[in-house]
């Protein structure tokens, strides 16, 4: 393997995006798409922009690439300013690599010709022999060196994806941009590619900016995840923090499955943690809230944090419930339970558990919402 050639010590650059703005002209009207987005990616780390379609994540990425001209804010890579609202370095002079959603493999070229292209054109031109070596290295990285002289379109979807990656890395850019690169692959291949992509990024130490609407991709690959909604970043955090400590209802709901239960703050304990009223009963939550007593809040907890018991146990936050629906999903079982207050239903909870130990449909059980698994968010 010659891959060690590629593990350049200066692999990645530091990307700073500050107060980025972008509008589109639509029938004469200015439609803001990105509204003051700021984030920093440290050299060699992997950051994902996660959000629903239309949230501005792809536009942000394309502004960083230079394929869109931003209307405000500053983008800089390793201190070199790439964009201000008025001046823009053209994409071919930004020293970035990009993998497009639908590969963008040039169909009239061979695999090798695709990979060597960045080393032949003005910005990154190398002597012929060196370009050849470097392109082959890039193909080796993605295990396509054996296919170098096939027509690019003779590759399968997954192989085209790898080729796109090799092409993006061939000129050793400081920043790798990935625009939903796995969304056209089937589920199994997506998992494999996810792991390969991450390990390759870590091996090369390149800085990566990844755009996706798939939360499991973002959580599994990233050092940092920025969740976007309506043209803004609503939360930027490490994957675990994002999952377990979402900043608001949107993040909680968008990242993973979640129960969102309306509640009212009733009391606080000595730590400032809230005692809230939900489902007609009091729940203990360890989560500090600013809101005062009587405020409407939302209690959130993940389905997998719910535990069930056949008979009452002496634990906090224990709720009697009737199992309304059980859905077998293979590795887990998801069930929906109606929380009971006497004979009346006061709410519904989605829970998940191991398939071999699941409640039966129609049975009455006791659900335990461990206080450390609950969070209180603004209503």
């Amino acid at each position: 393997m010659t891959t060690h050639h590629m593990t350049a010590a200066d692999g990645g650059g530091r990307l700073v995006v500050d107060a980025l703005e972008k509008h589109y002209q639509l029938d004469g009207a200015e439609v803001p798409v990105v509204k003051g987005v700021s984030f920093t990616i440290e050299p060699g780390t992997f950051t994902s922009l996660l959000g629903p379609s239309g949230c501005g994540k792809t536009t942000t990425l394309r502004c960083v690439a230079g394929l869109e001209t931003s209307d405000g804010g500053v983008i800089s890579l390793d201190g070199k300013v790439l964009s201000t609202g008025t001046r823009h370095v053209s994409p071919d002079k930004r020293d970035v690599g990009m993998v497009f959603q639908n590969y963008a493999i040039w169909p009239h070229m061979s695999v090798f010709a695709n990979a060597v292209f960045p080393l032949q054109v003005a910005a990154g031109r190398l002597p012929k022999k060196e370009a050849r070596t470097r392109a082959m290295e890039a193909l080796e990285l993605v295990q396509l060196d054996a296919y170098a002289h096939r027509p690019a379109t003779a590759l399968s979807g997954g192989q085209q994806q790898r080729l796109a990656l090799a092409r993006a890395l061939a000129h050793r850019p400081k920043l790798l941009l990935l625009d939903e690169p796995l969304s056209n692959l089937d589920a199994k291949l997506r998992d494999t590619m996810r792991n390969e992509l991450r390990s390759l990024q870590q091996r090369l130490g390149i800085t990566a900016l990844y755009v996706t609407h798939d939360q499991s991709e973002a959580l599994s690959m990233s050092d940092r995840v920025a969740v976007m909604n309506g043209g803004r970043i609503v939360q930027e955090a490490a994957p675990r923090d994002l999952y377990f400590a979402p900043a608001d209802r949107f993040v909680a709901d968008f990242v993973g499955r979640v129960n969102l239960i309306p509640a009212v703050v009733r009391d606080r304990d000595a730590n400032g943690d809230a005692l809230v009223e939900a489902f007609g009963t009091r729940l203990v939550t360890p989560c500090p809230v600013e809101s005062g007593t009587g405020a409407d809040v939302t209690v959130t907890f993940r389905p997998e944090s719910v535990r069930w018991h056949e008979a009452p146990v002496d634990r906090p936050n224990l709720l009697p419930a009737r199992v309304a629906r059980v859905e077998f999903l293979g590795e887990i079982v998801e069930y929906e339970a109606e929380i009971l207050d006497g004979a009346t239903t006061v709410g519904r909870v989605i829970a998940r558990g191991a398939p071999l130990n699941s409640p039966t449909e129609g049975s009455t059980v006791f659900l335990e919402l461990a206080p450390q698994a609950c969070r209180v968010l603004a209503a």
């Binding site: 002209q25 394309r62 053209s90 002079k93 990009m98 497009f100 963008a104 027509p151």
Partner: protein, 630 residues
């Protein structure tokens, strides 16, 4: 949102090299089409001869007053033209639809052979076809009338009867609508018909209630284009119309400017006529645009290349085959025979085995091949056809790329419409307007009667190349270019290394199509060519036209027609073979893999079709059909 993203381009604040190229190409096309039409309109309003540089030139509506003053004549021409063009359009459309249906949607035997046989006449120059029909229908010596005499009854076809002209015009043009209807039928979503059948409808009911309503907008588009083609072509009216005594517009225009001895040609009046008919074709073009927009909305064309279910002919097999046999006799076998017979007989002579033994000789072929003027006019034909195809394809491709890749503004939309509009200008009007233009600018730029003038005039069919280039560009996803930019390539490098190779198969295919159109062209040079610049089609007409006394040699004319046709065939196939070796071959290899690159390869698929269909003109069909799909 992605649509907005796609149309917003980086760096649009300052003009790039591409923008400049687009503007230049746009200007070339604009001037090419706008100046002649403007000159024609000005001439109509400025005096009886030329609008500038002559003492009689002044602004007046005199020409229109004259036109109205001769209104009996005016209504005669309008009526005769409507009957001639309308009748032949309807007739050729019916034949074309029937043939297309049989080859695409039925289990008729020899479908593949039939589809080739139908296309073959299209590559024969229309002037040759018209000449062949004239020979074939000659009352005494014509082979068709001879055959009819064998039948009981006293049936003789009068070649100069108006109805004969209509039939001949429709037979001459039938391949054009056929080539446009085939892809419409092939691309139809078969499941829509199948669901009608499953709902209990018979074949007939399905055709009437589902198929035809679905195809109607597309067919209307074909009808309008066939109508404009018919209105613009001079060949049949010139060869038959003069004797028939009917004034058809194309012929009227031609007679008005071919003044007799001692009188001035009436350019002003001719221009007024041109304006009237330009209004008519503009209305037709608007109908066409609406029709094709509807066609898009109904999405009856999926372009997915699956074959809809075929109809079982059953007992109809024999009648259908007979009909096709008669059609082939009329469009290929008999015309060819008539030409050959005429070429080997010294004067018009009825066919008999006795005559075959005693009267025939092949000297006419030798005479043609020994004729220096034949070779000179052949050379001019190739130069004019090649030059105009290159100009039209070059300018149109650059403009099409530029417009397809820019944000839709009022400017780009109007330029798009304008570049597509040359299809609405009948050839005869284009020829006349170009003729006037070169006369007007001659004191400044002396081009009148030159080969250069013909090259420019032939280029007016630019919209064929424009539409093809436009749809081919749309099929190249922008990501392919963006990927080049990100890789560090400049815009120009990206265009050269990514876009140009992907567009090449389409551009080549259209070039071949326009080249062959150019070699076949007769109407435009009939207005523009002088003996020094005339292409083969015009030289050949001189040989068969009894009025061109010293050149008149019908046997040589027929021999030349045969050689001419053979040459067009050879050139067409030769070029196609060359292209198939290079870019199309590459495209075909790529085409085997249908995956993520499918979109970009749509372009190549068109070209691959061409090698498959054994005829260059099927490329034409694909490209022209794109006009109707839109």
């Amino acid at each position: 949102m992605s649509r907005v993203e796609r149309t917003t381009r980086a760096g649009r604040t300052r003009p790039t090299g591409m923008t400049v190229a687009t503007v230049i190409a746009g200007s070339v096309i604009f001037l090419l089409l706008a100046i002649p039409l403007a000159v024609q309109v000005i001439t109509a309003f400025r005096g009886p001869f030329l609008p500038f540089g002559v003492s009689t030139a002044r602004w007046s509506t005199e020409n229109f007053v004259t036109l109205w003053g001769l209104r009996d004549d005016f209504w005669d021409v309008l009526g005769a033209t409507a009957a001639f063009v309308g009748g032949s359009t309807v007739l050729s459309l019916l034949m074309a639809f029937g043939l297309a249906w049989v080859t695409v949607r039925t289990d008729a035997p020899f479908r593949r052979m039939i589809s080739v046989l139908v296309i073959v006449p299209f590559i024969v120059p229309p002037i040759v076809k018209a000449q062949a029909y004239l020979l074939m229908l000659s009352p005494e010596s014509g082979v068709l009338n001879q055959l009819l005499r064998l039948l009981p009854g006293d049936l003789v076809i009068d070649p100069y009867a108006f109805s004969t002209m209509v039939v001949i015009q429709s037979l001459t043009n039938v391949t054009f609508p056929y080539l446009m209807i085939v892809p419409i039928l092939t691309g139809m979503d078969g499941s829509l018909e199948e669901s009608a059948r499953v709902s209990g409808a018979s074949w007939g009911q399905t055709l009437r209630r589902v198929t035809l309503p679905m195809l109607w907008p597309g067919l209307l588009g074909v009808m309008v284009l066939t109508f404009i083609l018919g209105l613009g072509s001079l060949e049949v009216p010139l060869l038959f119309g003069q004797e028939s005594g009917k004034d058809i517009f194309a012929l009227k225009l031609w007679t008005l400017i071919s003044a007799g001895a001692g009188e001035l040609p009436q350019y002003g009046l001719a221009a007024a006529w041109g304006c009237v008919f330009l209004v008519i074709t503009t209305i037709a073009f608007v109908i066409y645009l609406r029709a094709t927009r509807d066609a898009e909305r109904r999405a009856s064309i999926s372009g997915k290349g699956f074959r809809p279910t075929t109809m079982k002919l059953g007992g109809w097999r024999i009648p259908v085959l007979l009909a096709i046999l008669v059609f082939t006799m009329l469009t290929a076998v008999l015309p060819l025979f008539a030409l050959l017979w005429s070429a080997i007989t010294p004067y018009p002579l009825a066919f008999s085995f006795d005559a075959l033994r005693t009267q025939t000789h092949f000297t006419a072929f030798g005479e043609v091949l020994a004729d220096g003027e034949f070779w000179a006019s052949l050379g001019r034909t190739l130069i004019i056809a090649g030059g105009s195809a290159t100009i039209a394809c070059g300018a149109a491709t650059v403009l099409a790329y530029g417009i397809a890749r820019s944000r839709a503004t009022g400017w780009t939309r109007s330029m798009d419409l304008f570049a597509s509009s040359s299809v609405a200008i009948p050839a005869v009007i284009a020829g006349f307007a170009m003729f006037l233009t070169f006369m007007v600018i001659n004191p400044v730029i002396p081009l009148a009667g030159t080969i250069a003038a013909l090259v420019i005039a032939y280029s007016y069919r630019v919209s064929i190349a424009y539409r093809a280039g436009f749809s081919a560009t749309l099929q190249i996803r922008t990501e392919l270019e963006e990927a080049a930019l990100i890789s560090g390539a400049s815009r120009l490098e990206g265009f050269r290394r990514i876009v140009a190779p992907l567009l090449a198969p389409t551009v080549f295919a259209v070039w071949i199509q326009m080249f062959i159109l150019g070699t076949n062209e007769f109407t435009l040079p009939a207005f523009l060519a002088t003996p020094e610049s005339r292409p083969l089609s015009v030289y050949m007409y001189a040989m068969i036209n009894p009025r061109s006394a010293q050149l008149y040699a019908p046997d040589q004319g027929a021999a030349m027609a045969l050689i001419f046709t053979l040459l067009v065939f050879a050139i067409g196939y030769g070029l196609q073979w060359l292209v198939s070796l290079r870019s199309i071959g590459r495209a075909a290899r790529r085409g085997r893999v249908v995956d993520a690159a499918t979109d970009a390869l749509g372009t190549a698929a068109v070209a691959v079709e061409a090698t498959d269909a054994t005829d260059t003109r099927s490329v034409a069909a694909q490209q022209v059909a794109e006009l109707t799909h839109r």
